[in-house]
């Protein structure tokens, strides 16, 4: 993806690659980590773990419901299952299994949805996960993570492994810009402030963090200073970071997800209850996408720095309304 190129961000790995590599490292450290696959290991990158630890790797075939149930059983016996498939198949096909076999008993299963969002491109809407964050947030006790780049993905996968309880992590297919060029600190549930600014706050996750940084650059050229938050954890939400962001007087959220039930909804709830300020939302809206190149899709469906800039100006213009 070319997001962030014009502000000098260099292209890194796909977050799914960072996940696969981190998983191998975790496997070395913790013999209780097991990995379950729905016959997509060379796409989700759990093939790396399969090669390193074949006895702890189970390909259950194209059967996500059973995959999740087996993970629940393994977790009941003290294992730490990382289960991976495409985000849409994992969350949509196996939602009741995630509810009953993982969330309700609060089992220590780490659910990884790869190929999140519309940035998978040409394969089209049947493979695109645009509702996974909403579904994951609707499971009581789940932590929900959307890393922005390879650094974030590797660190958050490791944070998920030590977190006690179920976690959902969304990773993506394409190579993405490195937001954390000099590394970064990642704590589950704590947002990272990537840029200070007094006029508006841009709260983003996943690929849209790079877009938000790009937007902050464009806004700066017009004399508008934007604070940029990487809200990599949608749940539990870092409400204190939202409250600080609201001190700018206007907030824009940006996510590669439906407008319903994702980052924007979570931030809006915190803003409404703790720090009302005007908000605008950059998202996919209420629609499925289509086949196309990732960049073309981001342009057509409004997931660009320019869209964030427009939203920021709207939000700033509404400050006087409140």
């Amino acid at each position: 993806m070319n997001i962030g190129r014009r502000i000098g961000l260099t292209l890194g790995k796909a977050t799914r690659d960072a996940f696969g590599e981190a998983l191998v490292e975790l496997g070395k450290e913790n013999p209780n980590i097991v990995v379950l696959d729905g016959d997509l290991n060379n796409s989700t990158k759990t093939d790396l773990f399969a090669k390193a630890f074949p006895e702890r790797f189970f390909n259950v075939g194209i059967a996500e419901s059973n995959l999740v149930g087996v993970a629940g059983g393994l977790a009941s016996c003290g294992k730490v299952p990382f289960i991976a498939s495409f985000a849409c198949f994992m969350m949509c096909n196996a939602f009741d299994q995630l509810r009953m076999s993982v969330a309700f008993p609060g089992l220590n299963v780490k659910v990884v949805g790869s190929h999140g969002g519309i940035s998978i491109g040409e394969d089209g809407p049947s493979q695109m996960s645009v509702e996974d964050v909403a579904l994951a947030c609707a499971l009581p006790g789940f932590a929900v993570l959307v890393p922005a780049d390879q650094e974030a993905a590797a660190a958050l996968v490791k944070a998920a492994a030590v977190h006690r309880g179920p976690v959902y992590i969304r990773v993506g297919r394409p190579k993405v810009p490195i937001v954390y060029q000099n590394g970064g600190e990642f704590t589950l549930g704590r947002a990272n402030c990537l840029r200070e600014g007094r006029d508006v706050a841009l709260i983003a996750n996943g690929l849209m963090v790079a877009a938000a940084l790009e937007a902050s650059h464009l806004l700066h050229q017009e004399g508008i200073e934007a604070l940029v938050l990487d809200m990599h954890t949608v749940k539990p939400l870092d409400e204190e970071a939202v409250v600080r962001a609201a001190q700018t007087g206007a907030i824009v959220t940006a996510e590669e997800h439906l407008i319903w039930g994702g980052l924007g909804s979570a931030v809006a709830r915190a803003v409404a209850s703790r720090c009302p300020v005007p908000m605008e939302f950059v998202s996919l809206g209420d629609t499925y996408a289509e086949s196309g190149k990732p960049e073309e899709l981001f342009e057509k469906y409004g997931l660009t720095a320019e869209a964030i800039v427009r939203a920021a100006k709207h939000a700033i213009a509404r400050k006087k309304d409140v």
Binding site: G61, G69, G73, C77, D96, R99, M100, S101
Partner: protein, 273 residues
Amino acid sequence: MKEINLEELQTKARILRRHIITMTTKAGSGHPSSALSMVEIVTALYFGGVLRHDPSNPTWPDRDRFILSKGHGCPALYAALAEAGYFPIEWLSRLRQLGSPLEGHPNMRALPGVEASTGSLGQGLSIALGHALAARLDGKGYRVYALLGDGECDQGQVWEAAMAAAHFQVGNLTAIVDHNKYQQTGSVETVMDVRPLIEKWRAFHWHGIEIDGHDLREVLKAFDEANTINDQPSVIVAHTVKGKGVTPLEKDYTWHGKALPPDLAEAALKEIG
């Protein structure tokens, strides 16, 4: 076959049946007929020497596991767990009440001895497979038993799990199908014909055993046979009668999900003896 006093086991089965009627009538709801059809199966498991378990240590890592996939049959499980000593028998009288660990469907976080939270049909065999694989990873010798309903076999996940269990050759996993011939709105034959059941499981590479699920001798023998099979999972298709032992429940499937009113419960207790 282990030395088992059959008469004592039959008495235990009668006690479980009495608990099922008493607790569901007190609760005013529940699925007594689905619990009654599985009484001999849980009696054999908990009191016939099949399960290696320790009621004083419900999380003993080496214990055998029993997972009730047909969660609505839980009055039978609760009765067995109470009689085995997992919790006081008096708790049975608080079935389905606010704050009681004996919920309408099993909650593994609430009640000692419950291995999985079930009630959404189709999921227990997958969970059991996870336990069976964990035993292999940990080099442990425990066995895992999962009890399914015949109507539950409508669920695709059951067959996903069946395929995977045979593929992974988990000889320590035994499924029991409580083939009581009825589901909520009619006979399995009219609602969704799952027959021929045993042939389906065999086609999925399971070792199949077919028995009269109310004949304790046959039930015990079937578990013994399953335990000799080490390179593939086993299934026991237990032919049972929904509502077994209580004439009005046996005669009318529409009692599914309904408790007997007090007068009929009193008659049922007399009939059970």
